[in-house]
């Protein structure tokens, strides 16, 4: 089994009210020096077998078409992760 991680974030120009609320809460908690917080999604995808170029291309496609919405979000596919219990 191999593991792929897909991180999805709102595009920089899209307002992130959740991130802003967290940012304000952090300063109330006494954490000083916080400039900016943005909140996103982290998908862990475990697949059978090896990460062949075909498998990675499939994952990239669903990351672009399903896991993220290209109108408002950017995504990054990462393979530098260890699968648990593999």
């Amino acid at each position: 089994m191999a593991r792929v991680v897909v991180d999805v974030m709102l595009k920089p120009e899209i307002l992130d009210p959740q991130g802003r609320a967290v940012e304000q809460a952090l300063s109330r908690r006494g954490l000083s020096g916080v400039q900016h917080v943005r909140q996103g999604k982290h998908f862990i995808v475990d697949v059978d077998g090896d990460l062949t170029p075909e498998v990675l291309a499939d994952i990239d496609r669903v990351a672009a078409e399903v896991l993220s919405n290209p109108v408002i979000e950017d995504y990054v596919v990462r393979t530098d992760v260890q699968a648990d219990g593999a």
């Binding site: 709102l10 899209i14 307002l15 009210p17 959740q18 609320a21 399903v66 896991l67 919405n69 109108v71 408002i72």
Partner: protein, 229 residues
Amino acid sequence: MSARIGVVTFPGTLDDVDAARAVAYAGGEAVALWHGDADLKGVDAVVLPGGFSYGDYLRCGAIANLSPVMSVLTPAAEEGLPVLGICNGFQVLCEAHLLPGALTRNQSLHFVCRDQLLQVEDTTSAWTNAFEPGQVITVPIKNGEGCYQADDFTLDQLEAEGRVVVRYHDLNPNGSRRDIAGIRNERGNVVGLMPHPEHAIDSLTGPSDEGLGFFVSILRTLTTEGALA
């Protein structure tokens, strides 16, 4: 024979019963469509009602967009089948790329529930031809993720082509860009809006009966086009 208007139910849909009631009030026959069936039952038009399909998991409307009923509805809409998406239905239409842009979390972070003034700007669409241009109507709005977003190019294009169908009038409840409450596709058969016209069809149970115009419009469209002749 009266027009047959499909109303889709997804898991988590809330407003299918009110949408069906609105269709009947306007003189149409409401036909129940099921998310798990790739079957439009030969309807003349479809309403995607509000609610929280699939619990709003992933993104609002994202999982509904991948359902069997959408696998037949999306191509039918592209070919001209009239479709009205209300609230969550609008989110589904954006996820299906039948309408441009996306709906994101309200700027205030609060769920908004109020009677909302709307200005009807486009009366050429299949769902708004019973209104007067510029008419101001009151219908309820209730959403947590109703902030309409699109890039400047898309917004300019929507405005230039007269595709902003309804705009928030007295105040902007969710931070939507350019006060946009609802838009249409180029052809005018697909309309999506965040406010809920199906909750304003009778002053006994809503703030007005002005939402009925959307449903009267589609019946007029179907009759005029001769689809039912």
